[in-house]
């Protein structure tokens, strides 16, 4: 299988009060289409740093990220932003929906920025599958999403049909049943559309859903489990 996303010997150092902090030790990592990967580790271990580097939000100190065969972590901010827009779907812990837009308008915004017509078929199909069909014309107030958390942020992340989904604590602040729904959905969408989903989580209840589990501790990434 072709590697979709590859981290080639990346490191990340920060300067903190005139002291260099090695947030990420030299790490290599490959992800494949259809793979659902969890990254666990204690707070401050470097999980989020890893996620933001492979998501192109910041540059690694050394090394390179290659997405679909093209190195991109050294590109300028604007080019990386464009790649994030088209290739990477973010599901974030903080509200990733725009509170004053309806669910449908969140999707429309993507098309408006891309200057293309809305893909009605995909909207129909996705909203059906994610259970947000009745909510398409509701504004994305946080109260609404606490009740139906799985559909909104995921539909927004999935609509552009990105090749990579990056999820940051997608089950934080959700109860058990709803967390399970979100996990089910991430797993099934990953498999159905052949995406690479990388999830950073504290929640070890659902690691059984994942094809691969990695742990980051003190900036060092180790594999805990790789599905056969």
């Amino acid at each position: 299988m072709n590697t979709l996303l590859e981290a080639k010997r990346i490191t990340k150092d920060f300067l903190q009060k005139e002291e260099i902090v090695h947030a990420l030790q030299e790490t290599s990592f490959s992800g494949f289409p259809g793979q659902f990967i969890a990254i666990i580790g204690p707070s401050g271990s470097g999980k989020s740093t890893f996620l933001t580097i492979i998501g192109g939000l910041q540059k690694p100190t050394t090394g390179e990220i290659v997405l679909e065969g093209k190195p991109y972590s050294r590109l300028d901010g604007k080019s990386r932003s464009k790649i994030r827009f088209e290739k990477i779907g973010f599901i974030l812990q903080s509200a990733s929906l725009i509170p004053f837009l309806t669910v449908r308008e969140q999707l429309d915004l993507y098309d408006r920025i891309k200057k293309r017509a809305p893909d009605e078929k995909r909207i129909e199909e996705l909203s059906e599958r994610l259970g947000v069909k009745k909510l398409l014309n509701k504004t994305a107030q946080p109260t609404l999403w606490r009740r139906t958390p799985k559909g909104g942020p995921s539909s927004k992340a999935l609509y552009p049909n990105p090749s990579v989904i990056l999820a940051d604590e997608p089950t934080a602040a959700l109860d058990g049943a709803r967390s399970r729904e979100v996990m089910d959905l991430l797993k099934s969408e990953t498999a159905r559309e052949g995406k690479l989903t990388i999830m950073v989580t504290h929640d070890e209840r659902f690691l059984g859903f994942c094809d691969r589990v990695c742990k980051i501790e003190d900036g060092v990434l180790t594999d805990l489990k790789i599905a056969p």
Partner: protein
């Protein structure tokens, strides 16, 4: 524009506060502008009617047309495309002890361009054309009007709109008649001043030529008044735009985390900045248009009691100034948007 507009309609309360503030300030500004323009034109519109390019007074008159005495001989030496003598004299029109009105007697040389914009009825020796504001004092076409200190009453043959000088209504008459009022006999070869049209080639040494603008600026009170209003209006525009800028800045800071998330999702800073700018523009322009509507409405109700006058271009300029200055204010918000780090959103 999409984001900007959706945010406004989904947060009507918050944004209507901004618009209401803008409406009130712009209402004040448009209204002041109308008053300032109306007042300024009531100083000058009896003379701007001529379409003259310049005015000539004697040098010794010290910029005061009342003190200027241009002899027919000097007049003959003026070299310009078109020239016409006129005389100005403050006077009091007296109907009864209780009904006295300040007026200016404006004697205009017959057969010259000075008469072009006025009624083409021919005036007899003691006939005048009067400013329409005298109708409010009870005069009508055919009324006689007595000038204090002159024994023969005049007859009003016609009224014209906006014929005032230094806010006082004018009585237009023939230059010969004016000379009779001023000097006691019509044959005295002296008028107060000369109006010129077209190219001005030369004037004799004893005379001084003014462009119309220069002439108005030396009218007592005119320059100071225009400067005062201009200053007030400019300050109001800057203050209003600054307040809008601050509002937008606060709203932008509140959205820092949202903008961070959007940047993480790959929405460009340029798109977000454009959205902030277009939102500012939307609020400012809609607020000022409503303010203008309110002004028009107020004028419809109280017009006539105030020297109010519209000038399309001044109003367009004010609206444009509101838009431009508030966009400058919004640049602080744009800077804030550009500085948001998407890494912090995660």
């Amino acid at each position: 524009m999409f984001l900007a507009w959706k945010e406004i309609i989904r947060n009507k309360g918050r944004f209507s506060l901004v618009v209401v503030m803008m409406v009130l300030i712009s209402y004040l500004v448009y209204f002041l502008m109308g008053l300032a323009y109306g007042l300024a034109s009531s100083y000058t519109n009896g003379i701007t009617k001529w379409g003259a390019s310049g005015i000539v007074l004697t040098k010794d008159a010290n910029d005061n047309a009342m003190m200027s005495l241009v002899s027919d001989a000097s007049f003959g030496e003026i070299n310009a495309d078109e020239k016409a003598r006129f005389g100005l004299l403050p006077a009091v029109a007296k109907e009864s002890e209780d009904n006295k009105t300040d007026v200016y007697l404006l004697g205009q040389e017959s057969g010259t361009f000075l008469w072009d914009s006025l009624s083409d009825i021919s005036l007899g020796t003691y006939d005048v054309i009067a400013d329409s504001s005298l109708m409010k004092a009870g005069y009508e076409v055919g009324s006689s009007i007595s000038i204090v200190g002159f024994s023969t009453p005049f007859v009003i043959r016609a009224f014209v709109e906006k014929a005032t000088y230094q806010t006082v209504p004018l009585l237009y008459m023939d230059l010969e008649t004016w000379r009779e009022v001023r000097w006691g006999e019509a044959s005295v070869p002296i008028s107060a001043a000369v109006a010129l049209k077209g190219n001005i080639v030369s004037v004799p040494d004893t005379l001084k030529s003014y462009s119309l603008k220069e002439y108005f600026n030396v009218l007592p009170g005119y320059g100071a008044q225009v400067a005062t209003f201009t200053l007030m209006i400019s300050f109001l525009i800057v203050i209003a735009s600054f307040i809008i800028g601050v509002f937008i800045y606060v709203l932008t800071l509140q959205k820092t985390s949202l903008f961070g998330v959007m940047k993480a999702q790959g929405i460009s800073s340029g798109y977000l900045a454009t959205s902030v700018l277009s939102q500012t523009l939307l609020l400012t322009v809609s607020g000022s248009l409503l303010g203008f509507g309110l002004t028009a409405l107020s004028v419809a109700f109280i017009g006539g009691k105030l020297p109010f006058a519209y000038n399309l271009w001044f109003n367009v300029a004010i609206t444009a100034a509101f838009a431009i200055f508030s966009l400058i204010g919004a640049l602080f918000s744009v800077r804030a948007v550009l500085k948001i780090d998407p890494v912090k959103a995660i």
